[in-house]
């Protein structure tokens, strides 16, 4: 063990030799021969790592975790103590699957202490699984999930040390106006409202209140409250979102800043210009979201992969 670039505690067992420089394997931990580990990883006491496992660089695995065949941990992943992976949805003793479903934890994601991850799931880049959560389906990039079963409750910020996205705070007495957010080009709009005995009326004049010509509208409704929609950016299309009934949260993200806006009035809108990553979630059961768009539908205008979005943003030098 003397000429290896990585450290194994005298009471740890590391049967693999494909282990990166600076990685440490601590007491009572056990790495099987087929496992591949990156550099600068920290494998704590009582961790067990099977053979068909790939682990990136700078990964931390706290005590009491097992990494089973079929699990991939990308770079910079954090796995909290006693967090538990699985690789069989309906396990029975002595019944083995021919091939195990792959579970992928993407770069920078964290798995909270004592969380449970069901098999075949992808945890997106920078996502945060809360302590004790039981994750039963894939988690989008940056999302924060908690509970049993786990549900999205927020989106992590884009800063160095990840925090929950800041919530846009609309002052109560704001007049009809356009208000800047922290996200490039994204504005929140208080639209005119007239209320009398016959009811209420909110209006938007194209060109005056809505900052682009409208070529298309769509309505989103009947969304189960646990669902997330959007999760994409547009290359050229502007969008203007108004929640005309119920309530919905919109996360806008320019690759650097991320901010969450609650839409809960028919005279409150948000403008998402092109090259803005948008997410809608926390739909109330009666929510109806009206979207006005500057272009006719074109599938080529959609960017559906967050990594691709980040790269395009970088190319644009913004």
């Amino acid at each position: 063990m003397s000429n290896k670039d990585f450290f194994v505690h005298p009471q740890g067992i590391c049967e693999s030799v494909t282990v990166g420089k600076g990685t440490k394997v601590w007491a009572f931990a056990h790495v099987l021969p087929g496992a591949v580990l990156g550099e600068e990883c920290n494998i704590c006491d009582n961790v067990f790592i099977e053979n068909k496992v790939t682990i990136g660089n700078r990964v931390t695995i706290k005590c009491g975790v097992q990494v089973w065949d079929g699990v991939v941990l990308e770079d910079d992943v954090f796995v909290g103590p006693n967090a538990t992976f699985t690789n069989d949805l309906f396990p029975r003793s002595k019944v083995h699957l021919g091939e195990y479903p792959q579970t992928r934890i993407c770069s920078g994601a964290s798995i909270g202490a004592n969380a449970t991850i069901l098999p075949g799931i992808t945890i997106g880049r920078n996502a945060m699984v809360g302590a004790g959560a039981v994750v039963t389906r894939s988690v989008p990039p940056n999302a924060v999930v908690v509970g049993n079963p786990a549900r999205i409750t927020g989106y992590a910020d884009a800063g160095e040390k990840q925090k929950a996205a800041t919530l846009f705070d609309l002052k109560k007495d704001e007049k009809p106006s356009v208000i800047n957010t922290e996200v490039t080009g994204v504005t929140v709009h208080r639209l005119p409202l007239v209320t009398d005995l016959r009811g209420s009326l909110s209006v938007g004049e194209i060109g005056q209140h809505i900052p682009f010509d409208v070529q298309r509208y769509f309505l989103v409704f009947d969304v189960p409250s646990a669902e997330t929609r959007g999760e994409h950016a547009h290359r050229e299309c502007h969008q203007f979102l108004i929640c005309v009934a119920g309530k919905v949260a919109v996360v806008a993200d320019d690759g650097k800043h991320r901010q969450e806006v609650i839409l809960d009035k028919p005279n409150l809108g948000i403008h998402l210009p092109p090259m803005t990553w948008g997410i809608q979630y926390k739909y109330s059961t009666d929510a109806v979201l009206l979207v006005l768009a500057s272009h006719h539908y074109s599938s080529a205008d959609y960017i559906r992969n967050y990594d691709e979005f980040l790269q395009l943003i970088k190319q644009q030098g913004t």
Copy 2:
């Protein structure tokens, strides 16, 4: 009484002489001297008519009705038996108002048997007050009202013998499509709908599904269920109405035909071209109506008087 052009039953009393040709006053009826009656009226038994009263031509007043100071009955009005007018909102014995509020029953309207009409109200042209109704506020043209207090339940048709407006009947299995109504230029639109586990989405492409460029939208909501909105036509502006939450009834009227459409789905719209009289009523408490318009707001574009609308239609020779 011999040389008069009108008839008074031997046991009737007619103290007025300004009574039109062919009018009949029957037994136990009593017309005070100041009343003015038109031609071909029928004043039945036990009717009482005060002095400051003006009655048009071809008016029928059935038994047991009193017409008090301040009441005007235009041409072709029908007043059912025991229907009761009033001219003091808060009557006390021996307390008299200096001036009585005017109650006007417009041309062609009918007051049902035993109905009660509160003071200061206008019953619009061709409106129909149901038997036993207690009318506490003005009734728009063509509206049918019933109950205590009276509420609008429908709109009379534009035909000779007035009937309720026909209800537009949308077949259940209709595909996305444009469907003609009986009203000139008015079309009902089934818009595309996509439903999956994440919820539903309805879309309208401008120019393809929406037959005009959109310069303005407005949202109507929080309308008390007893209220009626709209009740006007536009000179140049097109409108496209979608009820994105709840339910609302839209009456479209081209001056000749009138038809009622129930909007109750986010993918169901109605196009009201210029010179269409439109009414919205029967709002469910959660209704949100989205209106897309072809022009920016202009008060000069509105026609708010139904008689003026009818005249303009006639001038246009349509």
Copy 3:
């Protein structure tokens, strides 16, 4: 007027001569020549009777009432003051129907003061229309209706001077048992109930709790609360009714006594033996009524006409 068998007040007008013995026509009343009146009628002040009208014997018409062409009043009918009949559902001045819809008030029925009766309606034998009611559809025999629009609120008793059916009063602490009502052969049953942590269970052993062999069951549900069901008797079939959800009122009638029972618990039943007239009404919106029957379905077993039922009861000497 001296040799007539009927009386006309000096200031009344009776143009008809087909008037029965003992009938009286009072001041300011007016009977047109074609009307047919029975014996011992009382036509009060300010009543107006048209030509195509038939009135039975012992009919009372209080002041301020008009009886229009098409109205039939059978024997022993009472019409309260200012009660108002109609004969055109959609009246317009100078527009006359070729034939008027017939309105029939059956023997022994009463129309309350200032009530309004829409055209084409039948008010059943011994029914009672409450003061101020606006009757928009036909009323079954013995029913009591009130309100605008009028709804059934009870059933008149079978005694000489008609009163509302007595309500069966179930003591709160009644043990599982069979309890007699005032109606021949009709019993109310408290059935066993077992409740534990897992919920509640009610049981009925055939032969022990249910007093006949069950050949048929049916379930009645989704009944609008304003509706009445049943309204018939069986010749041979026994029925046992349990309201397993919600609440319903059952009226049982043996031709002499009539009693109303509220069913509102899954362990409360009522046994209706053959030759019992049964009615169910006042359904709560969530009501589900379970009926156990002693015979298979046979349309010949149903007696649907109350007069026929009364006659059969009389023939049986019961």
Copy 4:
């Protein structure tokens, strides 16, 4: 008819001679011999008055009304056109009651046009029955009732020409404080309120916030929304009312001024000192009213008759 102090139209019939000075009986009206009429009354066309009827001074009876045996109209009563009285709750033709239930319309009350009054009812002093109302039970002094069945919607003011009681208007941003009303000694109290994440807390210190020692409290709940409670004054007892759940309207009346306060928050109270006439109504279905009282229960402390209350107020010289 020449030497009488009252006027009868040539085509009216007045068989009674106990008619007061200045009273007028108009055409087609008919007064039976036993009726007793006061001075300065106005009996309009087509009115019919039976024998066992007593009518006070300055009473107005508009056209088409009948006043039946058993009806008493006190001084200054107004009866609108076609308003209809009754004297048999369950009328059947040729069935006569031995004695008719008395219907009493107290001094200064008004019966709206075409209203229906069921038998045996008292309409309290200065009360106002709305046009078209169907009154099925007694109406308290000063109350305004409308609808079918009639329900209290407000209280008439104590001024000359009766208007609805003014509604006490609580400013939104009022601090914890004591606010005077227009009614002598009656104060509205905003009580301290503390709200934090754990919920809300409202507090009232006796002697500090509650201006008397508390000897008794009671809770009023499960009140059907159509009910009125209170309707009495106390001789010595103070009361402090707080609606701790739901909503209730309280009318306070010192005999000169009358004001209505909406209680709808657990930290909003009203102090009713002795010799204040108090009424509670418009209960929401979930309303729970807490009353703190300064004395133990004593039936002698209650004044339940409004006339007696007015007299006591006068004696006290207040």
Copy 5:
């Protein structure tokens, strides 16, 4: 260690010698001397097994699990990684129970990863505890449970590799008819339904629609939605189940096939013949289940143990 039939990793500790042939104890695992282990077991890294423990044959215990005094694992049990057993409901440091409550995991059952099992519980044969579940009460045979606290969400199939029971799929346009299921003798019945303006009516003729004479009925209601009922078979009694309000799921099981039927209409029934294992669960809060039975109640007719049921089925040669 050389002459043992079982394997212990050099860094594992096995102090017991009552270990079956072929069993393997891996690194950092620790088996105390009193434990009894069967053949072909797999005891993974970091597992800890106390003294008063009995483990059957072919049992798999994944990493990070402890098996405490009082826990019994029958043959073929699977225990997922970090799954946690307990043996004291209210543990305090240094306070020891005289005797530990027994926790029994029956043959073939699986405990999901990171699940928590409270003390004194039995997990039935072939049951499946989901990953992350917190099991607070016993789980019936074949049931699938998930969540915190764990609730039944389905039933495992009877096949080799256990899957969820197939859901019976009722076609929408099925006519009144009898439809076979995959379970021997069990039929689903669409019963006649008549719907008109007065409501709906469903009927079942005994002998025609209900395939046995009815000697008993019972109603099940007020069941908390998390509860399971039934869980037994009858030796001779037929049952016919109809959910007359709300919704309930019925699982029928003949020992070979298992199928779940959703009852959600008053005209939808299921016939469970004798020797059918029946379960009802997923009650809606308003569910009322009507059961018709062919026999009077007899406790001897019930088979309440699933193993006994399976044996009886085998004896009958079916």
Copy 6:
């Protein structure tokens, strides 16, 4: 290792020397050099203890637990198997906090098996965290919490071996009366109730039904159902609690006995005399709690620390 007062298993690693007498460190456990452990502790297999950790006397730590920097376990704490602590609310790999939030488990508390404790939380004296619970905020003394997220479901008894507080059981047919509980001086009161057609009324005469002069009242409302209120004792003030709407649970504690009472009727009260520790929780969403108090508000009268309360009780020699 021979001359140490504590035991370390040959395959355990204990790098710390500040370990109390009688403490045992078992196989595969690992204690880092900076950790401080008290006497008579039990550190089971596979436990890992970091450096900045302080552990009291008689603490039990079951298998699979890690105790991280920043965690303090006071005397007599029990930590169940696989229970998981945390010290970073938003962990990312290779990102370390300058200082870790302190997590404190107070004397006598127990952490159930597989529970998860979020960072920075205090678990109060004698509290009980249920197996599998995910604790997201601090837990008061004696409270029992379960679920994900964890909520209070009861309070541990004051006896030696801690059990849930006994629930006070109110008989259904109890007459208006005062009933003793097991807690010194605490009484439950059934108050008079009068119900008639106008609703229900409950009354309490001060001095008769309420056993002290009332100097203050307060109302508690809008409490989220997961919240706990109260959690203090008074030195001199009496309190009388009535839940006038909805439902609430009250725990009364005299330092020796603890009992829970459900208040759910407006005529049901509980008297808490001075030196009684009181807690209210399990509020229904519509609950309104009325509290009558014997003294004006004085912050000096409150004892808010349970340890202080216990000491004062002891000093008083009660």
